[in-house]
Amino acid sequence: MGWAAIRAYTILVYLFMFLPVAVVVLLSFNQNQFGSFPMTGFSFRWFEALWNNDAVMRAFRTSLILGLLTALISTTLGVLASLALVRYAIPGKNLITTILIAPILVPEVVLAVALLLFLNWLGIGKSFALLLAGHVIFTLPFVILVVQARLVSIRRDVEEAALSLGASPVQTFFSVTLPLLMPAVAAGALFAFTISFDDITGTLFWKPGGVETVPTQIFSMLRNSISPEINALGTVMIIITVGLPLLGAAIARQISIKRGM
């Protein structure tokens, strides 16, 4: 009896987590012109409307470029730092780790204000550069935590073998360490991209007037009222941020099966 009750409770908790999101997806295919209940039929008309909405398409381009650049920079910095933390005995490791994950210990609003005011004082006002700096610093801790966790499991002796056979440290890094590291790098990059793509809290502080990312675009569209177009945009975002990691995982699995690992 007790176990059945816990099971029912858990099902309700999962419904609570997913039902509202499922309704967003469901309503985005609604034929009804107000996009609300009752459903009157299945249609792609709201996705078509998105495609023809210049503001939305601009926001998409901005989000995509911002996310890709963030992932590139954040992953580079994060992988280098993780290598140092996992591979070397360095004094004050705990302090360094705390400093590196500080951006997620500070409330994002405070981080947003501090960065905006400081860079503005340096002469970098609200701009794409400020957005990029903000997204990099905010995603860096996540990349470091994810990459570090994967790095621990990569064996050191393979690298030592390469070195002892006469490879230079740089050669060893590119032909031995990096290929072994790729899953960690990909996971970190994917994480950085999704967090950047989804961010709104900091973005609203940093974005210049007239520039929108997808989340801020949704936010400004919500000012009027909920519309089927917003639901469609939400569905597209879910497909990108959920579908991309799943696709990545599937590809990684295919590759490892082919390699016979």
Partner: protein
């Protein structure tokens, strides 16, 4: 240079870009807004540089700010409570279920990949005047016109619980999963009922996870301004909304600095207390 000296320098070369970025883009800016919070906004032209206590005095004594701060902490506390109430049994079920554990865990990770703003606005589809619940009530003839359910404190809390619940479940799960199930069996074989065994063995051992989840929910909940803007009414502002107003709308940057530092101090104190008793490592466990 000797090989050893190079070995010693290497990690610092690897670390310097990341450490440099955090220093330049977070630590120095934080120090900068400490200084900025003592400047004054002037009606025209640039802010007045100097050492003025006006912003801090207002931030600490203005009854409106104090009310909002109190209200923010209250909302965060209620949110954390409901997250624990909903999250604990679910985490327990995931830990002890055998067949579909993997799928339950995968589903639990899913919300982290779905945008916060979409999950927040999804409630408008449910509770809005033309939402699912109202159309259900009207089609059943219970009401003839839509009931106003949105835009109050309760919906702000609802949105926050929905946003933060996965953090809670994940943290409790991580600590529950690390507990040897033999301990509970040993307790029952020694005569404890299953409920007693849970209360006296499993629950105390899982408290670090509950605390970590609670801290995350509280700090993330207390620092949000988007949820009140989307699901709250005009009177449901939280402290971060004051910061946003001061910086973006009023352009009073010195005041905004003082307010954001006040928020940082209040939430930082909580994190420090937590760190003193439980240590930071529990917090990052759930992430890796």
């Amino acid at each position: 240079m000797s090989v050893e000296a190079r070995e010693k320098r290497q990690p610092w070369i690897l670390l310097s870009p990341a450490l440099g970025a955090v220093t330049l883009l977070l630590l120095v800016p934080l120090l900068f807004i400490v200084v900025y919070s003592f400047w004054l906004r002037s009606a025209v032209g640039p802010d007045t540089v100097g050492f003025h206590l006006d912003n801090w005095q207002r931030a600490l004594t203005d009854p409106f700010y104090r009310y909002i701060l109190f209200n923010t902490l209250k909302i965060a506390a209620i949110t954390t409570f409901f997250c624990a109430l909903l999250g604990y049994p679910a985490a327990y079920f995931i830990t002890r279920s055998s067949g579909n554990k993997l799928i339950l865990l995968l589903l639990l990770m899913l919300p982290f990949w779905i945008s916060y703003i979409i999950r927040t606005m999804s409630w408008i589809n449910i509770l809005g005047s033309s939402g699912a619940l109202n159309s259900l009530l009207m089609s059943m003839g219970i009401t003839s016109s839509p009931v106003q359910m949105l835009y109050n404190e309760a919906t702000v809390i609802l949105g926050l619980v929905h946003f933060l619940l996965p953090f809670m479940v994940l943290n409790i799960y991580v600590s529950l999963d690390g507990i040897d199930t033999n301990l509970e069996d040993a307790a029952t074989s020694l005569g404890a009922t299953r409920w007693q065994a849970f209360l006296q063995v499993t629950l105390p051992l899982s408290l670090p996870g509950l605390a970590a989840g609670g801290l995350l929910c509280f700090v993330l909940g207390a620092g949000t301004y988007i949820t009140p803007l989307i699901l709250g009414g005009p009177r449901d502002a939280m402290f971060a909304n004051l910061v946003f107003e001061a910086i973006i709308t009023q352009l009073n940057w010195p005041m905004g600095s003082a307010l954001s530092l006040l928020l940082l101090i209040v939430l930082g104190a909580l994190v420090a207390i937590y760190n003193r008793f439980l240590g930071m490592s529990q917090l990052t466990k759930g992430l890796s």
